[in-house]
């Protein structure tokens, strides 16, 4: 699903990022890849009938601040017509932080989502749930306990239905691991760690990514990327360009 990382579908991936190196591009990349794969499979005649019958959304994005204009603009640069997929129900956005009657409640959000996740009968195309992002939910007032319960419940639903689950977490204190991050690390399958360069912003390198195995991963399933040999990337409007550390055009 995630290129160039060969993370298998159905896994729970935790993405951590920092303000100087946000991981928006990974989420956009995952959504667009999922949509493209669904569109490709829908073109196959035998599969099309199956996928159209009563199938729910292929991609479910649960966001603390839904910014549809931005999603559409970025997807269009990557040749995906997100507006069309929104209208035909392939992609669904849910605003987790919206107040219903003055009370913000994650359990009500979970109840409405679990029906969607649990009822999916189409196992042919990959399904994706993204929770973007856990830290903002805590900052705007949700209790950490509620948030962790929500994440755990979602994880179990996704695991049962073999949906890929991605959670994003913002790190504000780079050298410390706070309690919520510790708990998330304890239940994730894979951990994609996006960090800025230690020396600050650069024109050629936007940041670096490392891939770690979480507690639930099986041994030797996926090729990991250590922090010392992390993959560097440069962000362009059409997406990231990856290269091995120290091999960007300016260096060689």
């Amino acid at each position: 699903m995630f290129s160039p990382f060969d993370i298998p579908s159905g896994a729970f991936t935790l993405i951590t990022d920092e303000l100087s190196a946000p991981a928006d591009f990974l989420l956009h990349g995952a959504v667009n890849a999922c949509i493209k794969e669904h569109a490709t499979k829908a073109r196959v005649p035998g599969l099309r009938a199956k996928s159209e019958s009563g199938a729910g959304p292929t991609v479910l994005v649960l966001s603390s601040s839904v910014d549809l204009a931005r999603w559409k603009a970025i997807s269009s640069k990557q040749n995906v017509n997100l507006a069309q997929h929104l209208t035909n129900g392939t992609v669904k956005f849910v605003d987790v932080a919206c107040e219903e009657g003055g009370e913000m409640s994650l359990s009500s959000v979970f109840n409405s989502i679990s029906a969607t996740v649990g009822s999916s009968s189409d196992v042919l195309s990959e399904r994706l749930v993204i929770l973007d992002d856990v830290s903002t939910l805590e900052w705007i007032g949700f209790s950490p306990l509620d948030i962790m319960r929500f994440v755990r419940a979602l994880r179990i639903s996704c695991h049962k239905a073999n949906w890929t689950f991605i959670v994003r977490y913002h790190v504000v204190t780079p050298n410390e691991v706070d309690e919520q991050l510790q708990q998330l690390l304890g239940i994730c399958t894979y951990h994609l760690d996006v960090r800025p360069l230690y020396s600050g912003r650069s024109g050629a390198v936007s940041g670096e990514i490392a891939l770690h195995r979480g507690a639930a991963a099986r041994q030797d399933e996926v090729k990991l990327i250590k922090r010392s040999g992390s993959l560097q990337y440069r962000l362009l409007d059409t997406g990231p360009v990856y290269f091995q550390k120290g091999t960007s055009e300016g260096v060689l």
Partner: protein, 480 residues
């Protein structure tokens, strides 16, 4: 027959075109509004986009540069004809201090109806007479080594646009105030509204009530861009006891409102005690950066004499926490900002980092510039012997900086030696300039050096500083 249809550019963007705005160079679906400061517009990538929020953190308790940026924001809004809302209990006092067009521009504009006012541009890109301006290069022609002849002059900031060009980023003068009739007229016509958050006693009450009022304003009309200004978010008088969660929730909800009503934009300055990074545990400013679109810190040097001595011509450092990118993965500022310098490095050599940025407030305006470390001893001269005094800037008992008053005195004497005596409550200090007239830039550096006060200053032997001459009437020609 091909099913591809050629996109018609004229039908492509169905965006409204608002007065006083520009389309962003990065994306045709983003509209930028000017902050009133051309160098800040450059840092943001052309201006603050509509539907975005900008937060300025100004941690220094003794200065009000954050509020100054907000005044520019409001003045620019009034000049462009946008709808402006100021949310503060003391908004009237705030408005009384707004800057306005320079007096010369106003008098000429009232006289001449046709023809633009062409301001002359100095080497640093300043557009009007300013004591920090360099003298014109015709004074002295210096032979430069051939390899440097083609290089452009050293520029630390972007140039200000000329006065009567498009309705974007007007030139304001800090020495002139907005006329009261203008403010009253805007208040009456509804182009300017003052909102008070109200309810400061209930914790969090002020932020909720402010959000409701902002939503009401945004819902009213969408023909003209709406600028929301909060000069001091978190100040106890207006906002009461405010918790970190209140602030983050407010900024998050405000961003949501601006996305819902994309003809609005907001500029907020945090109160000084909210602007430090460890206000609510560590990482506070990072959190603020995540819940807003753009976030800058203006860290003034007022509290730190060592820093103000190291950078005598600047008043503080700018830290960029977040930059707006409402419809692109890469912030337009990365590609288009001249001051940050990332754009030039990316394509060419592909490796250098961004420039350090600082700001200074001159008599007439606020400027954001690139910050460069001087050569040891100052760029104006290279000494062959150790300096006879330490280059620490002393402040007098009254708190005023001595170099500032010395610089003021030095302008009275443009030729020859001049002595300035600064006598106030503190120690007696003599400042002396030797030799022919030195350009303004050097004066600012030289004035920073003081002869250490000694019990008998008159009998001290004065050694002339040996200068290894590298005179340049233009600013330094090396280009970063």
């Amino acid at each position: 027959m091909s099913s591809f249809k050629r996109k018609d550019p004229s039908k492509q963007s169905n965006l409204k075109s608002y007065e006083g705005t520009r389309v962003s160079p990065a994306s045709s679906s983003t509209i930028n509004t000017s902050t009133g400061i051309s160098s800040l517009d450059d840092i943001l990538g052309g201006g603050l986009p509509l539907s975005c929020s900008l937060v300025i953190a100004a941690p220094d308790l003794h200065s009000s540069y954050g509020e100054l940026v907000q005044k520019y924001w409001v003045a620019e809004g009034l000049a462009c004809g946008h709808r402006v809302c100021v949310i503060d209990d003391y908004a009237e006092d705030f408005l009384r201090d707004l800057m306005w067009y320079p007096k010369s521009a106003l008098s000429v504009a009232s006289g001449a109806t046709s023809g633009g006012i062409k301001e002359k541009e100095g080497p640093l890109g300043s557009t009007f007479e300013d004591e920090e301006d360099e003298p014109t290069p015709t004074d002295r022609k210096v032979k430069i080594a051939w390899r440097y002849e083609q290089m452009k002059p050293f520029q630390t900031t972007v140039s200000t646009p000329s006065l009567t060009s498009e309705n974007y980023c007007h030139v304001f003068d800090l020495t002139s105030r907005v006329p009261t009739p203008v403010v009253n007229e805007k208040l009456v016509s509804g182009k300017l509204s003052l909102l008070a958050p109200g309810n400061p006693n209930r914790t969090g009450g002020a932020t909720m009530s402010a959000l409701r009022q902002v939503e009401q304003v945004l819902q009213e009309q969408s023909t003209v861009p709406i600028r929301i200004c909060i000069p001091s978010l978190g100040s106890p008088a207006t906002w009461g006891d405010i918790t970190p969660s209140n602030v983050l929730q407010f900024l998050h909800s405000l961003r949501g409102l601006l996305r819902k009503y994309p003809h609005g934009c907001a500029s907020i300055t945090l109160a000084p005690h909210l602007s430090s990074d460890n206000w609510s545990g560590s990482g506070w400013l990072q959190k603020v950066g995540w819940v807003t679109d753009a976030s800058l810190t203006l860290a003034a040097f007022s509290a730190d004499p060592a820093l103000s001595a190291t950078f005598p011509s600047h008043h503080g450092i700018v830290h960029i926490t977040a930059l707006p990118s409402p419809s692109t993965l890469v912030a337009p500022s990365d590609r288009f900002s001249t001051l940050r310098g990332l754009a030039s490095s990316a394509s060419g050599f592909g490796g250098s980092g961004e420039n350090n940025l600082a700001f200074k407030c001159t008599r007439k305006r606020l400027i954001f510039e690139t910050l460069h470390l001087d050569l040891d001893g100052g760029v104006s001269e290279r000494r062959t012997s150790a300096p006879s005094s330490t280059a620490v800037e002393l402040t007098t008992a009254t708190g005023t900086s001595i170099s500032a008053s010395a610089a003021a005195k030095s302008h009275d004497h443009s030729q020859g030696t001049c002595n300035g005596h600064v006598s106030s409550g503190g120690p007696r200090i003599d400042i002396e300039f030797e030799g022919p007239a030195v350009p303004e830039e050097k004066k600012a550096v030289v004035a920073g050096e003081l002869i250490a006060p000694s019990p008998q200053p008159e009998t001290r032997p004065k050694k002339p500083k040996k200068k290894v001459a590298f005179f340049s009437d233009r600013p330094d020609v090396y280009d970063f």
